[in-house]
Structures are given as structure tokens and as C-alpha cells.
């Protein structure tokens, strides 16, 4: 895997998210209340809402457009809703965050 540095965990507020711009679209990087970091496509499986803009609670995010709840770990919609968004591997080394871009490249190919 190619790990690409994207910044520090401190760049993301707790229970918040930031996005990373990539050629294949935006990736949303989340930090939970207890400092776990997850990355998923910034694109809700419902109608493409920007998940990075939602409210983060536990390891889930509530989409800002129509309130689907998406698991940050699996990318799956929770509850009665059905859909899944791609997850992207993240590595934390001390404060530094890396994502596995390769996973993106392979998708583009």
C-alpha cells in the first residue's frame, strides 16, 4: 500500500471531519470523540450528500441532507436504509495521518 500523508489528527476537530481532495473525488476524514480516525468517500449512498458535513456521533455520521446514518467503519447505512459507501484505509502514526491512495488508484483503473 502507498500511504500518503494528509496532515495531523489535530487538524480535525473531535466529533468532526475534514475533507481531502483527490483526483477521484473528495474523501472525508473523520475523528471521533475518542480519537479514532476513519476515511470514507465524501458521497452519501442515498443522494450523494457530503458526509463530511454531517454530525459525528460514536463511529457514525448522520448525513446532512436527509439524515441517513452511515457507519464510519464499514461505510454501510444503518437502520432501515440500504447502501454503502467506500471506506479508505487510514493509518495514524503519532499525530500524523496517512491514507492509502493506492486503493483509489485501483478504483480509477
Amino acid at each position: 500500500m502507498i500511504w500518503t500523508p494528509i496532515g495531523s489528527i489535530n487538524d480535525i476537530p473531535r466529533r468532526g471531519a475534514r475533507c481531502v481532495a483527490t483526483p477521484q473525488g473528495r474523501i472525508a476524514v473523520f475523528r471521533t470523540g475518542d480519537d479514532k480516525v476513519y476515511a470514507i468517500e465524501d458521497h452519501c449512498p442515498h443522494r450523494g450528500g457530503p458526509l463530511s458535513q454531517g454530525i459525528v456521533h460514536d463511529a457514525s455520521v448522520t448525513c446532512p441532507l436527509h439524515n441517513w446514518v452511515i457507519s464510519l467503519e464499514t461505510g454501510k447505512a444503518q437502520g432501515a436504509d440500504e447502501g454503502v459507501v467506500r471506506t479508505i484505509p487510514v493509518r495514524i502514526d503519532g499525530e500524523n495521518l496517512f491514507i492509502a491512495l493506492e486503493a483509489l488508484a485501483s478504483r480509477a483503473a
Binding site: 466529533r15 481531502v20 483526483p23 456521533h57
Partner: protein, 816 residues
Amino acid sequence: MAQKLVVIGNGMAPGRMLEHLFETAPGRFDVTIFNAEPRVNYDRIMLSPVLSGEKTFDDIVIHGDGWYIEHGVTLYKGHKVVAIDRVAKTVTSDHGVIEPYDRLVIATGSTPFIPPVPGHRLPGVITYRDLDDVDAMLLAAQSREKAVVIGGGLLGLEAAAGLNARGMDVTVLHLMPTLMERQLDPAAGYLLQKAIEQRGITVITKADTKAILGEGKVTGVELKDGRIIPASLVVMAVGIRPNAALAKDAGLAVNRGIVVDDGMLTSDPAILSLGECAEVAGNVYGLVAPLYQMARVAASHLAGDTSSRFTHSETPTKLKVTGIDLYSLGDFADGEDRDEIVLRDASAGIYKRIVLKENRIIGTVLFGETSDGAWFADLQKKATDISQMRETLIFGQVHQGGPGADPLAAVAALADDAEICGCNGVCKGKITGAITAKGLTTLDGVRAHTKASASCGSCTGLVEKLMTLTLGDGYNPAAVQPMCTCTDLGHDDVRRLIKAKHLKTIPAVMQELEWKTSCGCAKCRPALNYYLVCDWPDGYADDYQSRFINERAHANIQKDGTYSVVPRMWGGMTSSHELRAIADVVDKFAIPAVKVTGGQRIDMLGIRKEDLPAVWADLGKAGFVSGHAYAKGLRTVKTCVGTDWCRFGTQDSTGLGIRIEKFMWGSWTPAKVKMGVSGCPRNCAEATCKDVGVICVDSGYEIHFAGAAGLDIKGTEVLGLVKTEDDALVHIVALTQMYREQGRYLERIYKWAKRIGLDEIRRQIMDDAEKRQGYFDRFVFSQTFAQVDPWEERVSGKDKHEFRPMATVGYAQAAE
């Protein structure tokens, strides 16, 4: 002949290693130790009790001078090794001693990290690592002056508690929102902060140090937000770094720490390393339990047994501040494949959380009551399947299988004279007696007849259990609709308890009201955030992560992820200057759509999030402020042209509308609030379908409220008639404040009014001058904090991060 073993550093790790070595292979080595600290091996962990006065240095010595003599160890006290010559196999100390070795052990520990802020070298700035630091603190404490501790982790808090016990006035500055965030979740962090503050220590979180002030000596600390905290002593406790410089100079492999394999060998097989300076499998350690495991491995290795291997294991964290019980172990992050069990006992200040994965414990946080820590740790270590005891697990070991496992049984076992409601002194017998005698079936009934749970409400759970016991199925506690699945309490109870118990943060509410989840959900968090903003305008720090995106980004999100921006046009009035500014902004940022809204102002739609601050900056220059078109707050005040122009106008409806909007903008409300002022009963401003409306008439101002024209259509009700414009403003403001204080989150005025009763509202606002004035004054006070243009704030840099991607990556790769 004995081999020469040289040890650099005389801390806890090598001390333990030598004990093992002398036991398993006595006489095998001739040992020489160099220690930069001029003293024998002591229990560094116990420096905090020395600082606070609970122990003396003699109490914490591990190996006295006699031990070194007994084992023939040469100890160079106060000698720092400055060079290792791996070819000649010698080390050299700063006093010029050169010592040859066959095997070398590097155990140089850690060095405290000192952030390079201006002033960090001033006398009076110290770290917390060794006895010299403790002595320096004790000397400073004699002055009984002010001290600042930078860092709210384990070390910082122990230093703060010690200095406080020695009579200093201590402030802890912590960069993160909650204390010890690496070991504790926010709920436990909140309780910890409360316990620390109860000792008289001031805690400032989210405190970013800008500089240490003083000339020739420390006088204070300046924060990035401009605050200055006076201090004659500053203790830096922000973290430690493995002390690997010597090894690096000698050409050994060094990453974060000195790289060793799981047998403690460095990249040079003659040299071992252990303790905080060593890095094994990518990990460095800062607690002694793993260091002691390293000591065992290193000792057997030196004794010739190379089968012993270091393996990673989790170490619990405890804080050594007398009276604060805290325990944390393992991984307590949330996750979909994980389950949590939370127990909160607000009156006893207890919080326990166990994180489970596949029915096995993977993390534990305990606060206030930690006696079961070891038991949980054992279950975690052995990966015991806990499904059999799941219901009672959190109550601890003694409750497994035994009595007390059923919470109702515990209440049933209480004596009749056991006190249930502390506020009103009501005992169990009185409550059960009243339930039977008066045939009570609701909580409100019990409250009315016995006063139990009618004040602070913290005994509500107990009272409900008594009702279940007495009435069986006849009692249905679910009659109150809970706020969400995180709590059994309804909105009204939560609002009441926030005031009664002076709860001022979201973690405080969740702890004291015994929330069932650790960090809430997207339903309760925005509601709690509003209640706290409303109830403590001067004391609550708005939690942006608990606001919906529109309120966080101060613009309306659109279906494609772009935003729309609606500036205020006071009372619907505008000018050529404003219109020109809007036209320029639209051109400059290529804004795809411009629309006149239903609220008498102009909406610019399709703006990229990154552009928002620049758009606002330009609008701001033309005098525009946010129209809060996104807010649960005051939206628009629609007006008609009124006496200024209209042949039927009876009063200055445009002027009054502008006045109301300028007075009330920026205020947060339970749901959005829209107003209208019409100059005559022809009602061109549609005031009679607004949350609050005014119909001007010859004799004055007819105030209307509780209208709606959205999901429901409802004409307004009349509140009353007032004579002057000033009166109209006071009544409208008072009405809004009453709604702010009582409304449930997302409940529009018409729904609130229906619940409270129109007459009750008229009575309080029209007839009770004192009540009205009280509401008015509270609104005015709140506005002094709320009337800040959020756009201007963001243009000047607040929440910058919100508007930019954190990184742009991968374009180079894609081009290849």
C-alpha cells in the same frame, strides 16, 4: 572471568533488569552504571506523593547505596555518558571517565518535551521528571504564589495537585477540550475536571499557549486568545520524548526510540536497550509495567537464555491524586462491531464504561469507583466471553450471580424510612403509602402529592422503581416521550434539570442525567447545545460539533453540497449600494443563481464551501451581516411600506420591523422564528401567518403569535393590543424569551403555545409586568453574547479549518 557490563542510565527499568540478572546469573557480569542524575535508583512514579508531602525521598528509594556495594556495582553518580565508541567498545562520561564494555545497556529514559514558545527558557519554567524538579517546585511553593501547569495529562495533573496541596494557587492549561483525553473518554474527562476543580485548581481547556511572559523571570502565561494568566512558576508537562540522541550519535538504528528487537537487542548485537528510550515493534512506552517486562527479557538475554520475548500488552492508567479514583485500560473507541455498557450514578459521581467486541471486553473506563478495574482487566486479558453475565457485568464482581443483580430487588430491599428524595426529605414509606392511598399512577401525581422528585429530579429513577414495585404493570413510565434513545428523560425534564443542577456542558448533562450512551446522537446533541446556549449565555462555550452543518458553516447546504448565502436586508429594505455589492459578488465568484426569497431578501445559491469566507468578506465590506437563513433563530422580519408611503398605513410598519430585526438578530431559539409587521389590517406583510406578527391599527399595535404557513397552515392568535412602538418591542421580546426558555428543540412557537396554553402566555406577557420585564431583561443579557456577526467572525479567521480541505493529494500520481 566475569564479562564487563556497562549500563547507561540508572532508572527503574535497568534497576529491575539487574535484580533479575543477579538472581539468575550471579557473578556473570562485572557491572558499571553511569547515571546523569546524581543519585541511586528510586521509584520515579512516587515523585508525586513526595511533591504533595505524603512521602519523603527516602521512602521511595529502590536501591540504597548498600545494594550497589553488595553486588559489586560501580555507580558513577552525576556522570553523563557523552559518547559510545562501538569499535573500541568503550563509553566516555562528561567527567572524562572511559569505561570498556563487553555488553552495553542503554537505558536513558525520556526527556520532557518543551514546546518552543517564546519565553520557554525563562527562570521559573520547569519540567516534571526527576527529584531536582520536585525540589524546584517545593522551593517555588514556599512563596504560596500562583503556578501554571501546562498540560492536563497524568503528569500535569499530579503536579497541579501536589502544588495545590503545598498551598499554591494553581491553573492547569490544557490544549484539548477534555483532560487526559488519551486515556479517558469525554464523560470521564468531565468528571475528572470537576474533581480537580473541587480542590480549588482552575482548569482551562482548549488553552493554546502563545508565550511565557516575563523579563529575567516568569511572570505569567499568555494564551492565543489573548488571556494572560499570572504565575511565578510554570510547569511544562505536555509530553515526553524517548532520549535516543546518544544512541543515534553512535550510529545505532533509531526511529522514535532506539530500535530493538523483541529480545531487547539494538542494531549492534553487543548493545541492548530498554526502558522508555527503547522502541519495540514500533511502540514506545511510558508506564513501568511494560518496562518491567523488558527488564525481564533483557536480563534473561544477558544471562544466556535468548528464548524470552517481549510481547505488547495494554497497561491500565491510574492517576495518583489522593481522592480521585480513575482507571482506564484498552481501547474505548466506538465502532459498529462494538457494544458498550454504561453505568452512571450522578449522585455518587460514578461513571463506568465497558466496551465489548464479540462479547469480550476490549476497553474499560472507570471513574469514582475503580475497585473492579483489576477484575475487568483480567476478563479482558483472558478474553472471557461475558454473555452469561452481561446484564450485571457493569455492577462488578460481587454482583455476579449474587443478590443485588436485579435493580428492582435493591429498591424493594430498602427500609420504609430510607430517604429517597434528598431535596424534600421524602422517605420510601411515604411514597409507596401515597401511591396506594391516593391511587396515583403517574410520576406527576407522585410529585404533586409527596414532593418527591419535584425539585432537582435526580431521584426520579428511584421513584419510578418504587412505582413499578407498587403498581406492577399499572405503571407505565414511557408516558413521557424521551428526547432520544440516549436517555429516558423528556425535553422538559432535561431543561428543568439543566437549570436546577447548574449543568453547563454537554458532558455534564450526560453524566449528571445518566445518559445511556457515551457521546449522544444527532438528535440529542443539537438540542442540548441549544438548551445550554439559551440557559447560560455567558458561561457556555457553544459546541460546534453538535450543530447541524448549516449552523456550523453559517450557510445553507444544497443538494449538490454547495451552499447558499442570504444576507440580512433589514425589514426587507435595500439600496442601490447594497444591490451593487451583491451584483459584484455574484460576478466575482461566478455564483450560478440569484433569487428573491419568500422572506423579502436575496439568496445567492450554488457557492462552493471554500469560497464562503471570501464571499462573506466582500459582503461584509458593503455592510451586510448574516441573514441566519439557516438558523434555529431569528430569520426575517417581513414588513410592508406603512405610513412612509402607503395611503392606508396607520403606523411606521417598516420602521418597527427594522427595529425588531436589529434588536433580535443573532438570537438562537428552539426552532426558527419568523416575524412580520403590517401597516394596517390589509396585512400585506402576511403578519398573521408568522410566528410573531404585528398588525398596526390607529389605536396602536395588535400583537399576534403562533401562526404557521409551512407544513401546517395556521392563522395567528392575538396576544393583545399595546399603545406605543416601545411597548410592542418589549412584549414581542418577552414573548420570544419565554418561548426560548420553555420550547422544546425544533418545536415552533405555535406548537409550544398549544402545549402551554394561550391564556397562560397572555397572562405572563400581557398581565404580569414583572414577569414580562424579567423575560425582557434575560433576552437583552443573552444578546450581549449572541449578537456577533458569524460571517465577520469567520472572515477574521474563526474555524478556518471548516472551509478548506485538509489536504489535496494524488494529482501527481494520477498524471503519471
